[in-house]
Symmetry: C2
Subunit: 221 residues, 2 copies
């Protein structure tokens, strides 16, 4: 191990620290977005938009640093794959922030009319709970590098898909809240579901970051 090699590894570790911070922000973003749907607090919706902007900024910063690292350190093939994987993960984390912001914007657009009609209260609360739990699991995966947590994430994603189907079912049968509320509810379901998809994608990439470290196989790319 050369001095350059060790320095490169240290910098990759610092990138991983940045990923943990971003995952934690993406968790807060969806938690606040869900809260503002229920409470109609515009200030909370505003916080979601702020966090989403911060995540975009963080994504750009990680990309730039990764490039500088690659350009100055003569990386080997496995370094390139690790760097590439980190960049995939920050892309997913940024998208999670954007989707939380989409949820908050639905609430802002309809304010002060509440977004969630009574028949959807339980489902949206359940989707919010699953999204937050999955985001928390992703943060843990980044922190403790335990690939078993990925299986939990996949199971939770199945729950989310089932909840989205239930939401559509309610909107498409016995709906008496008008077209605008139906369209918003369908979008809302879609945003939570895509938020969860990005967590699955990020966890998949992180699994490679972990196994890649000990010489495991590459990602499906």
């Amino acid at each position: 191990v050369t001095g350059l090699r060790a320095s490169f590894d240290r910098q990759l570790d610092s990138l991983r620290g940045q990923l943990v911070i971003m995952a934690s922000s993406a968790t807060s973003a969806v938690a606040w977005a869900s809260r503002c749907l229920v409470s109609s607090e515009l200030s909370v919706a505003g916080q979601v938009l702020d966090v989403a902007s911060e995540l975009t900024e963080a994504r750009r910063s990680v990309e730039s640093r990764t490039f500088e690292l690659l350009a100055t350190q003569q990386p080997v093939a496995s370094d390139l794959r690790l760097a590439w994987t980190s960049i995939q993960v920050v892309g997913d984390l940024e998208r999670m922030g954007v989707l939380a912001a989409h949820i908050a914007k639905i609430m802002i657009r309809r304010h002060p009319t509440p977004v969630i009609p009574a028949p959807l209260t339980d489902i949206v609360r359940a989707m919010a709970e699953v999204a937050e739990r999955m985001a928390w699991l992703l943060t843990r995966v980044l922190e403790v590098r335990d690939p078993a947590l990925s299986a939990e994430i996949v199971r939770a994603d199945d729950e989310m898909d089932a909840l989205e189907r239930q939401l559509y079912q309610i909107v498409l049968t016995d709906w008496s809240y008008g077209i605008a509320a139906a369209v918003d509810a369908a979008q809302l379901g879609r945003y939570y579901e895509r938020y969860a998809d990005h967590i699955v994608s990020a966890a998949h990439h992180v699994a490679f970051l972990i196994t890649g470290k000990v010489g495991g196989g590459g990602p499906q790319a």
Copy 2:
């Protein structure tokens, strides 16, 4: 210029050729998706799904080849940026295929009921036309490397955004086709609009591929 350097440049050019082919496929995908909305031909919808799968395969293949290239050729910093940019563009092209497939799937799900109620016929036809024109412009940008075409793409994207707003307006006022058709129409509008967004994003990256070649500024990343 060393032999390695020249070989690397040749391989990057071959990657660009691959991008042109993908852009052309992504254009066909949206053209066929729009056609199947009007004609209700399931076989055409099936073609869209096939092209979307091919685009995913092509994206993976470009990513792998780019990695091999980087790992075996000791690239300099500008090579890394070019490779990174190519990978961004193939990601956008893949997403364009996925969005065309989403459009086709709406038609498949409702078949044999037509997807487009009379009041939306003109708007959806216009969105289809703008999407196809933008995709064609993107293919041209990749072929002839004329950054002026990017300005046309941005203008067309503004048209698309305006059309999406009109579509929502119609769905949310004077709608007599039921909730399911309203939700589908809103999704449809969203898919065309996101398809257009990925073209703007790809064109932005391609502008860097062009200017990057002659020492221009980097992308906003």
